[in-house]
C-alpha cells in the first residue's frame, strides 16, 4: 500500500501548488487552520480558495497574499466582527484585487455534489429572482423534460485540484471518522483531484473497523494523512477541544489594522516555523480551559453469527 502518512509540511509541499483551486472545508467545526497556516508559511501564490464560509483562515490567507480568487457563500466572522483583510481586498476604497465568485450555501454544496457524482450539473430549488444570477454566470436554468413550462436553476460540477479537511481520527490508510457537525467534507473530498486529511489522532485499524458507518471518507479518496493535534484551533474538534471564542472575538482588532495583521502573521505563522511551534507558543496549559467534559456515544452491535 502506498505510504500516505505525511508531515504537514510535506503534505502541503507535495500536493498544493501555485495557482491551484484549493477547497479548504469545514463548517464552523473542524476548520483546517493548521493547513491554512502552512500554505501561508510556504508562500503559495495565486490560489483560488473555495470555501462555503471563508472566515478568519480566509482573512489570513488573503492578507498573506496567497489568494487571487475566492469562491464562497458566506464570508464573515460570525457575529463577533468583520474580516477586514477580505473587505479591504473587495471594497471600493480598499487595496483591492480579490476576484469573487459568489453562491449561496446550497449552491456551492451542490457544485461539490455534482463534482463528486460525475454529473455535469445539479438542480437546486432557489436562485429565481436573486441578483446573484446577474453577477455569477455559472447560475443557469434548464427546462424540466417532465412538465410543460417548468424550469429549474442548476449549478455546474466543481472539481477542485485539492481538498483540505480536518477530522477527529483516521487509520493510516486514510479511512476518516468524524462526528459532530460534518460540513461538506465528504462531498469535497470525493469531488477533488487530491485530498489532504489532517486528524487529531491516528488510531489503530481496529478502532475504525469497530464502527464502519462512522467512516465518512474511505481511505482510497485520501492522498495524504497528517496527524495534527489541535490543528483546527481556534476552531474546534468535537470531543477533543472546544472553540476558542476569545480568539474569534479578538480577531477584528487584529484584522482591522493592516500592519498589526501582518505582524500577527509574522509572529504566529512564519516565526513559529510549523504547527508544533504554534502549539509551543500557545503554551502547555493553553487547551485546559477548552477541554470538554466527556459525553460518550452508546455502543451499537455490528456482530454476526460466527
Amino acid at each position: 500500500m502506498a505510504e500516505k502518512m505525511f508531515s504537514l509540511q510535506n503534505a502541503i509541499g507535495t500536493f498544493v501548488s501555485d495557482g491551484d483551486v484549493v477547497a479548504l472545508e469545514g463548517f464552523t467545526h473542524l476548520i483546517p487552520f493548521a493547513a491554512g497556516h502552512e500554505i501561508i508559511r510556504q508562500r503559495v501564490k495565486g490560489l483560488t480558495l473555495v470555501r462555503m464560509t471563508p472566515d478568519i483562515i480566509a482573512d489570513q490567507m488573503v492578507a498573506a497574499g496567497c489568494v487571487d480568487t475566492m469562491v464562497f457563500a458566506f464570508t464573515g466572522n460570525s457575529s463577533v466582527g468583520s474580516l477586514y483583510a477580505v473587505r479591504r481586498a473587495i471594497e471600493s476604497n480598499g487595496t483591492g484585487g480579490l476576484k469573487l465568485e459568489e453562491y449561496s450555501h446550497y449552491g456551492l454544496l451542490a457544485r461539490y455534489q455534482a463534482g463528486a457524482a460525475g454529473i455535469p450539473f445539479m438542480p437546486v430549488r432557489s436562485y429565481a429572482g436573486s441578483d446573484l444570477v446577474g453577477i455569477n454566470p455559472q447560475l443557469r436554468k434548464v427546462a424540466s423534460p417532465y412538465e410543460e413550462d417548468v424550469e429549474t436553476y442548476v449549478v455546474p460540477a466543481l472539481n477542485p485540484d485539492v481538498a483540505i479537511i480536518h477530522a477527529q481520527r483516521a487509520d493510516r490508510h486514510g479511512n476518516v471518522q468524524s462526528w459532530g457537525i460534518l460540513g461538506p467534507q465528504q462531498e469535497v473530498a470525493f469531488a477533488s483531484k487530491r485530498t489532504i486529511l489532517l486528524v487529531e489522532e491516528i488510531v489503530d485499524d481496529d478502532i475504525i473497523r469497530s464502527d464502519p458507518n462512522r467512516t465518512l471518507i474511505p481511505g482510497f479518496v485520501v492522498d495524504a494523512v497528517v496527524e495534527c493535534k489541535y490543528g483546527a484551533h481556534p476552531s474546534f474538534a468535537q470531543g477533543y477541544y472546544d472553540r476558542d471564542n476569545d480568539f474569534y472575538r479578538s480577531w477584528s482588532a487584529i484584522s482591522k489594522d493592516p500592519q498589526r495583521l501582518q505582524a500577527w502573521i509574522q509572529e504566529w505563522i512564519h516565526e513559529t516555523g510549523g504547527h508544533e511551534g504554534y502549539l509551543t507558543k500557545l503554551g502547555e496549559d493553553f487547551f485546559h480551559r477548552l477541554t470538554p467534559t466527556p459525553h460518550l456515544s452508546s455502543p451499537v452491535n455490528y456482530g454476526s453469527v460466527l
Binding site: 460570525s78 437546486v124 429572482g129 436554468k141
Partner: protein
C-alpha cells in the same frame, strides 16, 4: 446608525425590558402553532425556547449546521458551539439538511436577518453599493437564499429600523421574495409565502394577500408617524394596527431566569 429606542419606556405597571427581550417575546408570539423553525443562534433561539416553555411545547429548532433537536448542556454562545452537538437528537449531513429538509419543504418558519429589506420582503445581505466595487462588503447569502425560497414562511428580525435598512430599492437582491422570484422567472416553481412577519425595534409588519409588508403593530412609545419616517417606502398601515402588547412578567421571567440567566443573547 443608532437605535431609535435602546430601551422602551416602561409603563408604570410593568417592568422595564430591553429591545432584545421585546423582539424575543414578540417573535415568540408569532411562532404560535408553528412546528419547525430554521434559525441561527441569538434572538430566534430565545424566541423558540420561550415558545417551547409557553405556547408551543412541540416547536423544534433546526440549525443550518444540521443539528436538530438540540439539548445543549449550556446555552450556546455561537452557532459554532460544541455544546449544540452534545446530546442533540440528530445531526444531519449538509446535503440532507439543505437538500432534503429545506428544499424538501419541511421547514414551517425560517428566521432571517438582513442589512436591507424591501416592501415585499426581499433581502440584501451581500453589498452596500455596486457588487463589483462595494462601499461595504456584507457576508453574502449563506443559506438565506435557500431559507427564503423553501420555507413555508419567513420571519425577519430587524433590530435597526431606519430608511437605510427598510428601503424602497435594495442595493442588491440577495434573497428574493417569492413575488420577486416569480416576476424574474415565471417558470421556476416557488414555495411558501416568503416574508410574512417582520419584527423591528419599532413595530411589527405582516404581509397582506399581495405579499406587501404592512404595519400591524407599533411597540409601546412608538408612533405610526415615526415608523413612516424611518421606512423607505410609503407604509401601508393595517386598519387593525394596535400597540404591541408589552412582554408579560411571566414571559420576562422565563427569558431572564430560565432561558438566558447569563444574558448571553439578552445583552
Amino acid at each position: 446608525m443608532t437605535s431609535v429606542i435602546e430601551k422602551a419606556t416602561a409603563p408604570a405597571s410593568s417592568p422595564a425590558y430591553t429591545v432584545s427581550e421585546l423582539l424575543a417575546v414578540v417573535s415568540c408570539r408569532y411562532l404560535q402553532g408553528k412546528r419547525r423553525v430554521f434559525a441561527g443562534i441569538g434572538l430566534p433561539t430565545l424566541a423558540v425556547a420561550l415558545a417551547q416553555k409557553s405556547t408551543s411545547p412541540d416547536i423544534e429548532q433546526v440549525y443550518e449546521s444540521g443539528v436538530c433537536g438540540a439539548h445543549p448542556p449550556k446555552l450556546p454562545e455561537t452557532i459554532a458551539d460544541a455544546s449544540l452537538a452534545t446530546g442533540a437528537e440528530t445531526i444531519l449531513t449538509m446535503p440532507v439538511l439543505f437538500g432534503y429538509v429545506l428544499q424538501g419543504g419541511w421547514i414551517d418558519v425560517g428566521f432571517l436577518g438582513a442589512a436591507q429589506i424591501d416592501r415585499f420582503g426581499s433581502l440584501n445581505t451581500s453589498v452596500i453599493g455596486p457588487w463589483d466595487a462595494p462601499t461595504v462588503r456584507l457576508p453574502g447569502s449563506g443559506g438565506a437564499i435557500e431559507v427564503m425560497a423553501n420555507s413555508q414562511e419567513v420571519f425577519v428580525v430587524m433590530r435597526r429600523h431606519n430608511t437605510t435598512s427598510f428601503v424602497r430599492e435594495l442595493d442588491f437582491c440577495t434573497s428574493p421574495s417569492p413575488i420577486a422570484a416569480r416576476r424574474a422567472d415565471p417558470k421556476v416553481p416557488t414555495r411558501g409565502a416568503g416574508v410574512t412577519t417582520v419584527i423591528s425595534e419599532l413595530g411589527v409588519f405582516t404581509s397582506d394577500a399581495e405579499g406587501e409588508l404592512c404595519l400591524a403593530s407599533i411597540h409601546e412609545g412608538v408612533t405610526v408617524e415615526q415608523v413612516r419616517e424611518q421606512t423607505g417606502w410609503p407604509v401601508k398601515v393595517l386598519d387593525s394596527v394596535t400597540v404591541t402588547p408589552p412582554p408579560t412578567e411571566e414571559e420576562l421571567r422565563l427569558l431572564r431566569d430560565d432561558i438566558d440567566p447569563g444574558r448571553v443573547y439578552l445583552r
